[in-house]
């Protein structure tokens, strides 16, 4: 790519459970990102919103909703929905506008207000919607997390103590993050004492649903240079590839994999970072930190292998060695991850990128990964959506 896109500003509203309108969180995050970037709202020519399905019509047209709340000023808008990868798809739309030379400066915002307990489908009697049918027969999101975790125990010999250690490690990281919802340090005993939700996973193995907002200001490298910010972190890759047929895993919200008589099944999660590495011209050995989608503790271990940070089946050993802790060889979820934030769907992928930006600028305080030059994010959601983003400096 001849043009380069940089991240000039990052901002978040703290994660929590306040039940206020999602627009408040998004606007607070946007204002923080604009202030961090040192640019005026009026100079933003493209607003890319991550949509939410739980907050009525304003949520579906989130780009316009945030633009109106910040004050209509004639910018173009876009709204993206891609389940857990919503933020990355909104980010990709803004990057494309800048790469195409249409605009120099863009704002990306995602925010959500979530209900208590399990995420649930839209109401009605809709047997044609796989997401409705699976809940009708009692299959929740943690069902899939439990299946994957049990599978790890069978294939690699992981234990529930390993899974608990992921929570302990992430809670140590999140204790240093004022934006995190949960800042308590957990012990293995506390995780083991929490109730089973989806065996072998317990309540403390599974992430909560949260309210929150995150925003980024993107610019062309030339524009950043004119502001004296030519050293801003570079948005080096965005991968939002689909799975390939036939599916290897039971994926939310499916009740069955594709019959694999014509070709070998392929892992979707592993495909996401592969494309990002290719685009950035980097390999896993170049990565200094990773923000991964720990919907469950066991899933963090799957992601570490999908990112090729260690060979398949060895993530628990990597965890036990301390390599994924702050101060280790490859810190994973220095922000505290979903374990400390809980999931605010359309904001989460952007929050992951915010953490990379602060880490690469050396502004992460007590959670700083020393000398970080390259970071990667990854996440996956329903209906073949997922993403991986690489930021470098």
């Amino acid at each position: 790519m001849s043009r380069e896109v940089v991240i000039l500003g990052a901002g978040m509203h703290p994660w929590g459970k306040w039940g206020r309108n999602f627009v408040e969180y998004g606007v607070a995050a946007a204002r923080a990102a604009l202030a961090d970037a040192g640019v005026a709202w009026r100079d933003i020519r493209f607003v890319s919103g991550g949509a939410t399905m739980r907050c009525g019509y304003p949520g579906y047209v989130a780009g316009a909703t945030f633009a109106q709340a910040l004050g209509w000023q004639g910018a173009e808008v876009n709204s993206s929905y891609a389940a857990c990868a919503t933020g990355s798809q909104a980010l990709a739309a803004a990057r494309a506008k800048i790469l195409g030379g249409e605009v120099e400066l863009a704002l990306v915002v995602g925010a959500d207000t979530t209900p208590k307990g399990f995420l649930a489908p839209a109401r009605g009697e809709r047997p044609d919607d796989p997401d409705w049918v699976r809940f009708r027969i009692g299959v929740t999101n943690p069902t899939y997390f439990g299946l994957y975790a049990q599978r790890r125990m069978h294939l690699y010999g992981d234990t529930v103590e390993d899974f608990a250690l992921v929570k302990v490690k992430n809670s140590e990281h999140g204790a240093h993050n004022e934006l995190a919802r949960y800042r308590k340090r957990f012990t293995p005993e506390e995780v083991a004492a929490s109730a089973i939700v989806a065996a072998p996973l317990r309540l403390m193995d599974i992430c909560a649903t949260s309210d929150g907002g995150a925003a980024l200001v993107l610019a062309s490298r030339d524009y950043a240079r004119r502001l004296g910010r030519g050293d801003a972190p570079r948005l080096a890759a965005i991968s939002v590839v689909t799975p390939t047929f036939p599916s290897a895993l039971l994926e939310m919200p499916d009740l069955a994999t594709d019959g694999a008589v014509t070709a070998a099944p392929a892992s979707f999660r592993a495909a996401l970072p592969r494309k990002a590495y290719e685009e950035a011209g980097l390999g896993p050995e170049d990565i200094d930190l990773a923000e991964v989608y720990d919907l469950s503790t066991a899933l963090e271990l799957d992601w570490i292998e999908d990112l090729q940070l260690c060979p398949r089946g060895e993530a628990a050993a990597l965890l036990r060695s301390g390599a994924t802790r702050l101060g280790g060889r490859i810190p994973v979820n220095p922000s505290g991850g979903l374990a400390c934030f809980g999931e605010a769907v359309p904001a989460q992928a952007l929050a992951q990128v915010c953490e990379l930006v602060w880490q690469l600028r050396g502004q992460a305080g007590a959670r700083q990964v020393e000398g970080a030059r390259a970071g990667i994010t990854c996440n996956q959601g329903l209906f073949g959506h997922g993403s991986a983003v690489i930021v470098t400096r």
């Binding site: 047997p127 069902t143 049990q150 089973i196 065996a199 390939t244 994999t257 594709d258 019959g259 008589v261």
Partner: protein, 150 residues
């Protein structure tokens, strides 16, 4: 409850499985490339290299190997309908050898995860689950260790 003792007549999801003592899930099979799908497809084969539009309804194998399992220890949200009080249940993902696919479902009532081992043989059964204004409930497919007493 065994499916042989006066089962409620109505399936929870009509057209998704056959009824009777030897129930089978009904899937789609592509007449061109032979790929199987569950539930049935309406819009044609999903193999990107296949352009055949002829899908056949086919009964799927009613036995396979346990791929993985878990529990629903908390009551799932609507549209799940729970008995009062809610009784936790197990769920199983079973690999069908011939179709080369993995199919999810509840585990038969009364079975706990302690009785399950990855790789064990499982078979498909029908059991009633709660349904609105229908005391007998409706029939849903479930997985049960092969040969286990109902």
């Amino acid at each position: 409850m065994p499916s042989t003792s006066m089962p409620p007549a109505e399936p929870l999801l009509p057209g998704w499985y056959t009824l009777g003592d030897q129930p089978q899930l009904i899937g789609s099979r592509c007449a061109g490339c032979g790929s199987h799908y569950f539930p049935r497809l309406a819009a044609g084969c999903r193999n990107p290299d296949c352009t055949d539009s002829r899908l056949e309804d086919v009964p799927l194998s009613r036995s396979g190997q346990l791929w993985s399992f878990t529990t629903a220890s908390y009551q799932p949200p609507a549209p799940y309908l729970a008995a009062e009080p809610f009784v936790p249940f197990a769920l199983a993902a079973v690999e069908l050898e011939q179709e080369r696919m993995i199919v999810l479902g509840q585990v038969a009532a009364g079975m706990s995860v302690e009785q399950l081992r990855i790789g064990m043989a499982m078979e498909l059964v029908l059991e009633p689950v709660p349904a609105e204004n229908e005391p007998a409930g409706r029939l849903l497919w479930k997985w049960r260790p092969a040969g286990a007493a109902p």
